[in-house]
Amino acid sequence: MIEKLLPNQKRFKFDALIILMAGLFLTKIFYSGGTDFISLILNELIVIGFSYFIIINIYKAVGNRKITPLNMIASLIVVQAVFLLLALSSGIILSNEKLVGQELIIQPDTIERIIISLFNLVILVISSIYLLSFRELFFLKQKKNMKAVYIAMVVFIILAVFTSFFVDKKLGYESFSFIHYAFYVNALILMFINSLQISWIAFLKKKEKRKLILLSVLMIIIASFSVSEISGNSSYSNLMSSYSYSLYQFSIMINIYCLMFFGVVFFTTLFHLPTAEAFDKRTKEISSLQYLSRLISQAQDFKELASSISEHSVEIAESQGSWIIWSRGDGVPVAVKNAGYTDALKITKFCNKYLTGLSIKTVDLKDLYKTEITDEKYQYAIIAPLKAYGKVHGYLFNLRKNNVEFDDEDKAVLETYSDYAAVAVENSFLLKESIEKERLEKELDVAREMQRKIIPQELPSYEKVDISAVFIPAFEVGGDYYDFFRLQEDKFAFVIADVSGKGISAAFIMAELRGVFESLTKIKSNPKEILGLVNQSLRRILDSKSFISAVFGIIDLSENKVKLVRAGHCPPILLTEEGLREINPTGLGLGMTFTDKFCDTLGEAEFELKENDTLILYTDGITEAKNSDLKDFGTDALINIVKDSKGRSSSEIANEIIRSVTIHSESNPQHDDITLVVLKLKK
């Protein structure tokens, strides 16, 4: 199963490993070597050769994993314990008689050979794991180029291992043993040098360092036991050297390396321990700044951002509570971490006078408790402004319960932190603004479309009336509306209105207004009554700040009579042969009151419309059109134009008015809808 799950290449390495191990195993069962020089050399070469490739393959199969030193050391302790157990049990593997008399060269039977071979294989694997683990630990976070030293060490270990048979007195090559010792000492020196080069200890957290000291003590104890057990004349040494001197020597050297390594680890860690806290703090700072730089580059939900800023500040300030106050907000703490909300409110209120300026401030909270009771007793507060581009977005609060005041270093750290945080905040603001802008533009598109559909697409045509209408919407949709409703063959109603407010809400009200007028004109024929009912029906959709100004009238073409009501709207202008006048009956804007007062104060104008008489309806978009000096176009200017329009058609009059308004406002952008309706009775 597991093999199937492994990627092909790894499986291949496992296969190679198994073949190699089986090869060594079988070779050694059938070939035990002799005591002459050539056989000895041959035996050692076979074992070293196989071992080398086995180690390489183990490395390929399990190497290159992400490791943490502590986990690796913990598992090494287990391996070392297994090794110690094996070493102790080596006496049981060979029957006692074979070991009587230390001079004896063992002549084992086949079953024993198999057992010995297996035992040696296990030791080989264990030693390999050691070597590879040390390799990992050695190169972990290694900044210097130490590869040469490491390779030299491995070479000397191999040489020392290969020449180890010189030492055995039984074989009679003792005179050459100096060669072995020379390599051996060199290997030991290099091992020591390598052990000193460990560079990952400094990066551990304080907690981890404490753990590491415990682990290395444990390791040193087990390794010391092992070394004393396997060196010298022991059943282990007999068992191993009967198989191969090299392997025996290798296992010893690995154990010595282990002792040295963990001795160094133990002392190094011990010396690092006092500075561990400062190191931890720096690490935290750096990582939180990195975290913030990531935040800056990400599009972030504003709430989430505040929450992470607050949360991380607790770590770097070593505080027991934190929150943020936004300058644009209503002074209420947000993203409160590790503190009660009511406490945060009380403390914020107490610190209110410090919420100003660009510098970081520390506050002693002891005076707070003279007047307030909080759930938790905080001693000190530090308030860092979140400033970006000279603008303060808010303040970051951090609090300590313990009696440790915030010192200059805390200030410096928090200052840097809050500067970064502020940039993230600024970014998020900008992003939000641009999204909001886009949303508004979409909304305006919808509103414009609605308005375009509500306003009549084409004007009604009557034999006796010449009608013109001009509608120029403002960019933001101003809420202007006009319409005509045919009542009977020779009777029609007209309406012009201006909904207060802009955008989509104005467009909705407009739609409602149109519906109400449309239905009411079908069942009622008195303008006063209609407008009163319109006002009532708007009660549901108009909020307390909204209102509508409107002029509504009914023209009876059979009698040439007009009845007209005005609800707070610009009074229509009537141009007759006799002159010009404004039709100005009293009337409150729609939605200003829903009491009887609306109808009670609503006046009605009734007048005759003779041939060539012109009635002009308009919205304040015309009279309040502003020039660059913010001066209104004005009613007087409008009246003056109308005065001179006798004999002109309705469209000529409309064009003339719009032309003048355009000239007046010139480059100044149009802020409100412009609507103009001209009705002229034909001859």
């Binding site: 804007g589 200003m592 913010l630």
Partner: protein
């Protein structure tokens, strides 16, 4: 851009707001904040002095509509005083004088509360 400014002062237990400049959709929230503050402090008797106000838009008118109703529900009122003609005309057009007290001088407005 046209400026707007609103300043709060107090006289004979009545709060007076001096408004200045252009009151439109963009500046209306400034005035709303002051009025909300007064309501929160249960101060329902207010005079708004329009002496230095140059322009009011429908959004500005809406503010007065809404807040006068709120003040009246609490037995208070907002009296409007010292409007320039062009500003008065805008109020007048909509029929404000029918519903609300608009007075020539601040003193008259203050006295209105004591009647």
């Amino acid at each position: 851009m046209a400026e707007f400014n609103a300043v709060l002062r107090e006289k004979d237990n009545i709060n007076i707001i001096d408004v200045k400049g252009f009151l439109d959709a963009h500046t209306a929230p400034d005035l709303e904040n002051i009025l909300t503050g007064l309501i929160n402090e249960s101060k329902f008797r207010v005079v708004v002095n329009f002496k230095e106000l140059d322009y009011i838009s429908s959004a500005g008118l809406g503010v007065f509509m809404a807040y006068i109703e709120q003040m009246r529900e609490n037995n208070g009122d907002i009296k409007l005083a010292e409007m320039k003609t062009q500003v008065y005309n805008i109020f007048d057009l909509l029929g404000f004088p029918i519903l609300y007290d608009i007075l020539q001088t601040e003193t008259e407005a203050l006295n209105k509360f004591n009647q």
